[in-house]
Symmetry: C2
Subunit: 242 residues, 2 copies
DNA sequence: ATCGAACGGCGTACGCCGTACGCTCAACAT
DNA sequence: ATGTTGAGCGTACGGCGTACGCCGTTCGAT
């Protein structure tokens, strides 16, 4: 039922591959955003008729699943890129995942939505590969099997959430720098709200001399490292290891 | 420019309120999913013409922003619901956020996408309220202002990521229990993949006697608590507090 | 009380979307 | 040489967001 369970058509002489189709979709998503990815656009990019794609793919959900798995492929590392220390190793996996997702801001959109859920089922080969790699990274960790699964899930929670909020932050700052005129209104609205007195602590915080920015893109890296370290150490201790 | 900066029309006698429109959208999203929310559906539910909605809302992105902020309203707590201990207090805020988001699985979809980004800008009143509440919870914490911001961002990262992955997991298990026939194929595909030998550690893990489930919905609560505690303690220590 | 202007409500239309259906015609088996 | 198959895809349908402009009501001014 999942797309990876069905072999590619390959019956006669197919003009395309699922990989080609997914690659075209990736390109469009990177260049113009996730919602620019449509069957017609992909077909046009490949020089094919729109409906031809349906010889290779049952539904758009399948395509999205393919895109998501292709993206996960970018998170993979060779085994020898993993440090020997398991903490360092799993941190490398997490950092790599983060940078791959940040490089493709549409990544999380492909994971949400009913269309995606229909096709994802249990994840594609690259997802399994990533899982395998993560288990390898943890092979020296003093954790039970289910403890390892918990730690991996915890780290994925954090990484995905970090990317989600980082994408929102950067979209905001990007929008703020757009016309230059548009950034006036939101800023005005915010300071107006602050001055309303309904948010005393927020107001006080904004009034501080060092004035930490509320949505500060420059601290994203440092924040990620802090959370990563806290989770690896803390979760490991709480999961019964050392 | 953000929708909250513009007052409601209110010039003559408007038949609707933004709140009513947002409420109708919420109802549809809860009942039939996020992608069932369309201008036509909302208008029909309100007994209005489709285009009438545009008297109250500039674009669908605005509507989505409204929905997101309404949802954030569910995460709010009264001040006296906060424990005195700052660690306990911020944990309560995080737990409340988690349960509100889990109750509305479409929540994250509303936060993603270009349509949403256009309207969100700096967040609505409820978002500001939540921020204020979180600052109140942290008022006793031995952290600098920017340390508090970092901790809050870190916790939001974790909570949102947790919900994201939990939603995916539950969507998967829900889909698995759908027809009963469909669950056969994915399971077969997975075990086939495992037996291929390309994923030795995954295979070994699946073969263990206690057999921890790969996507285990039953451990979600415990995992959340572990991550929460690890982040609060670890991040606080690393941010220079006690 | 009357009337002009203003404005809320919304019908229509356009250009997108995903995809069901069925035709055409090249490539293969015989 | 011929029959069969299936890849490629043109057309069409129902849905989407929303631009545009008409209509009838309501309000302020007289």
């Amino acid at each position: 039922m999942p797309i990876w369970a069905r072999p590619e058509p390959a019956v006669r002489r197919p003009r395309f591959t699922r990989d080609q189709i997914a690659a075209a979709a990736l390109e469009i998503a990177d260049a113009e955003g996730f919602e620019a990815v449509s069957m017609r656009r992909i077909a046009a990019k490949l020089g094919a008729g729109t409906m031809s794609l349906y010889r290779y793919i049952a539904t758009k959900g399948d395509l999205i699943a393919l895109m998501g798995d292709a993206l996960l492929g970018e998170t993979l590392l060779a085994e020898d890129e993993l440090p020997a220390d398991w903490r360092a190793a799993i941190a490398v996996v997490a950092r790599r995942t983060r940078s791959a997702l940040l490089a493709h801001p549409w990544a999380l959109q492909s994971a949400l939505g009913d269309a995606a859920a229909a096709g994802v089922e249990l994840g594609g080969p690259n997802r399994l590969c990533r899982f395998e790699l993560a288990l390898l990274a943890l092979s020296g960790a003093p954790l039970t099997s289910s403890g390892k699964l918990d730690l991996l899930a915890l780290l994925d929670d954090f990484v995905y959430g970090h990317v989600l909020n980082a994408a929102e932050t950067s979209a905001r700052t990007a929008a703020a720098q757009a016309v230059g005129d548009d950034q006036q209104a939101p800023a005005e609205f915010l300071s107006e709200q602050l001055l309303s007195g309904r948010y005393p602590r927020l107001q006080a915080l904004a009034a501080e001399p060092d004035a930490p920015r509320l949505a500060d893109a420059s601290r994203l890296d440092e924040r990620f490292e802090i959370g990563l370290a806290a989770l690896i150490d803390g979760a490991c201790a709480r999961l019964g290891g050392g």
